[in-house]
């Protein structure tokens, strides 16, 4: 590089060799890849093996119960995010648009329905058609609409698990009762559909595995409290949340977090953190722009910004806030867990969670990423931004694009906003008006 090339005020991104430089744990990432590959292989061969296939949503899902009846489980949201990361979502979306899905329909829905209509082939294998559609109505209305559309296209039966919206710190008794009665009904339905009888003890065992994985996951998340942070709680977490969402209830999920946590401990010992020189500790709120996820990450890294905590990895459940599965109260704890999906929290709850996170993880700033085609997560994020800035005095940036649709991501504009934000933070820190970790 010659002298005449302009520098940004930020340090250039770290240029160490290998995957590690991207901020990933080496073993953890490799194991995660293997698990994902295995998962897709199982999906592709499920029909051959005569295994029935259930579709399920991530928020408040019922993986444990469904798996205990021998189903293979497809999570179209996960497939959607994988397609988007692999730049394979746009064709599906455009196809769905030609089927009549409007511009403003959730990108996951369009990716999934377009994908299915085009034959179900993804870069990682073919996705089987559903025999059962389990709609856990936990936090997003579109879940119902989406499953309804699939049910009509495939003629597959759909069951709804209605999860009341969380408007209090602890679940209300009536809500849990309602959910437990639905779970019993669901189990009876599955008994009829599969000709298997339900075994509560088996479920307890599965839940014990879930709990082990959950504890491991929480331990990983908690590492973000350290300064400097040995983990990337947003960009890295997107990968490590796969087992907790998809493989919960299997021993592999628990084992995965053991491996990952051991590696984090090593990081702490050796000081090999995801961002070599931690300058800004950031809380990230919102669904990631999967289509440009690496680009987006780079915009943080070049400023030495590390996400120490994030809300998105909690869509599957707020395990770090107490909703762990409890084998001694199987259905009640499943109910409580489903209530605890992040998008199922009222704005009052969401604000409280974020404020707590800012304190607990000593975040300097918050970056909110809004999704144009997702109202559930996004409607009200502007107000959140206002609240953080004016009532909590936390510097906050709001940026917008889409999780699935690359047409909504404009690199130049996105970079401009992030650069300006960090530039301002740097200025304020230099002037002493921003204490490091002054997230209060």
């Amino acid at each position: 590089m010659s002298e005449t090339v302009p520098r940004n005020t930020a340090p250039s991104p770290p240029r160490a060799a290998g995957e590690g430089s991207r901020g990933f744990l080496e073993e953890g990432r490799k194991l995660q890849r293997d698990l994902v590959e295995e998962y897709y292989r199982n999906l592709a061969t499920a029909k051959e093996r005569g295994q029935p296939v259930a579709y399920m949503l991530v928020g408040g899902n019922l993986t444990e119960i469904v798996r205990s009846f021998g189903y293979e489980v497809v999570f179209p949201e996960i497939i959607g995010l994988n397609c988007a990361i692999k730049h394979a979502s746009l064709d599906n979306i455009v196809h769905a648009e030609s089927m009549g899905y409007g511009l403003d329909v959730c990108g996951y829905v369009k990716n999934d329905i377009g994908l299915q209509d085009l034959g179900g082939s993804t870069p990682f294998g073919k996705v089987p058609r559903p025999d059962l559609l389990v709609c856990s109505f936990s936090g997003c209305y579109i879940y119902v609409k989406w499953w309804e559309a699939l049910a009509e296209s495939y003629g597959a039966p759909m069951t709804t698990f209605d999860v009341p919206y969380m408007r209090s710190d602890r679940p209300w008794r009536e809500d849990v009762d309602y959910m437990v009665s639905q779970l019993w009904e669901f189990v009876h339905y599955l008994e009829k559909a599969t000709d298997h009888s339900f075994d509560m003890d088996a479920l307890r065992k599965v839940l014990a595995e879930s709990r082990r994985a959950e504890e491991g996951w929480v331990k990983w998340l908690d590492a973000g409290r350290l300064r400097p942070s040995p983990i990337e709680a947003y960009f890295e977490a997107i990968f490590y949340m796969f087992p907790i969402n998809v493989l919960r209830g299997t021993a592999r999920a628990g084992d995965f977090y053991d491996v990952v946590n051991a590696e984090v401990e090593r990081r702490v010992r050796d000081g090999t953190n995801p961002v070599p020189e931690e300058k800004f500790r950031v809380l990230v709120e919102g669904v990631p722009p999967y289509t440009h996820y690496r680009t987006f990450w780079d915009y943080f890294r070049r400023w030495g910004a590390v996400s120490v905590v994030a809300t998105y990895p909690k869509v599957g459940g707020l395990f770090d806030r107490g909703f762990l599965h409890d084998p001694s109260r199987p259905f009640e704890s499943i109910a409580e867990y489903s209530l605890g999906a992040y998008v199922n929290q009222s704005w009052e709850q969401r604000r409280r969670i974020i404020a707590d996170y800012v304190d607990q993880y000593s975040a300097d700033a918050v970056v909110i990423h809004g999704i144009k085609s997702c109202r559930s997560f996004t409607a009200g994020q502007g107000d959140l931004r206002d609240w953080l800035i004016h009532e909590r005095n936390v510097p906050t940036l709001y940026v917008e694009s889409d999780h699935e649709d690359p047409r909504y991501f404009s690199p130049a504009q996105m970079r401009n906003r992030l650069d300006a934000f960090f530039e301002a933070l740097e200025q304020r820190r230099a002037a002493g008006s921003l204490a490091p970790g002054a997230g209060r």
Partner: protein, 262 residues
């Protein structure tokens, strides 16, 4: 006695300002074409010519604007947001809110007493209601952009304009014309509509006095009045308004140069 330069490559125009001891000693303005690298060079040369100075005399050059990464000769690049905040606070030290409407985007920036950026918001991936919109409307009405401000001030019954989409600007204007509306009334309607769009953006960071209006569109007097009226606050405008980004960049360059010297 350090001479520094700020080069602002916008979507529509390239601006360069040379500053010495906090004073503007030279400036230039030129349209941006397809060869951005050359345009940047050219803007810089013009400003040097204007200041009767040589390239080697400039101690520090800061680039900004959406084409900032294309400036080959600068030492530092900074976003327009920081630069507009810096420039506006320099000209109007009481500034707490900056509204910048350029050729293709609108920004609002809340600044602290010390001229630091506290918060900002931008219009989103849409060119509606920007300078380009006004350019197209002016064209459709057969005016030069520099004329539409004064013309709009003669309006008697401003029309209601619903869309400020740049692409449909022409048909918006034509359909008003075909309904027999007068150009000043149409222009006043357009300005009012941009003003309320701007207000809505300003609400995102909070409307606090003093408000300073920057960017090319702030040269439009009709727009300035429409804005002051809609916001209900006085609005600062400098004759240098289109240069404020470049000025801010040059001023940041002064700090850098001083810092490096110390």
């Amino acid at each position: 006695m350090t001479l520094t330069g700020g080069v602002d490559i916008g979507s529509t125009t390239a601006k360069c300002v040379l500053v010495e001891d906090g004073r503007v000693v030279g400036k230039s303005l030129a349209p941006v074409g397809v060869d951005i690298v050359r345009d940047a060079d050219h803007a810089f040369d013009e400003a040097l010519l204007d200041a009767h100075r040589g390239r080697e005399e400039v101690a520090f050059i800061v680039g900004t604007g959406y084409g900032r990464f294309k400036i080959r000769f600068g030492q530092l690049v900074v976003t327009e947001i920081s630069c507009h905040a810096r420039g506006a606070s320099h000209l109007f030290p009481g500034t707490r809110l900056v509204l910048d409407i350029g050729g293709q985007d609108t920004k609002v920036i809340r600044v602290s007493e010390r001229g630091e950026v506290e918060d900002f918001a931008m219009n989103d991936k849409c060119a509606a209601g920007t300078g380009r919109f006004l350019d197209v409307c002016a064209n459709a009405l057969g005016f030069d952009v520099a004329e539409i401000g004064p013309v709009s001030l003669t309006a008697r019954r401003p029309v209601k304009v619903t869309s400020t989409c740049t692409v449909f600007a022409e048909s918006e204007v034509t359909s008003h014309l075909s309904r027999g509306k007068e150009p000043p009334d149409i222009l006043a309607g357009l300005h009012a509509s941009i003003a309320s769009r701007s207000l809505s953006l300003m609400q995102r960071v909070g409307v606090v006095p003093e408000v300073t209006f920057t960017g090319g569109v702030s040269r439009n007097e009709g727009m300035v009045r429409a804005l002051a009226q809609r916001v209900g606050l006085p609005v600062n405008v400098s004759p240098l308004s289109q240069f404020i980004g470049a000025l801010g960049a040059a001023l940041l360059g002064q700090e850098r140069a001083a810092g490096a010297g110390a």
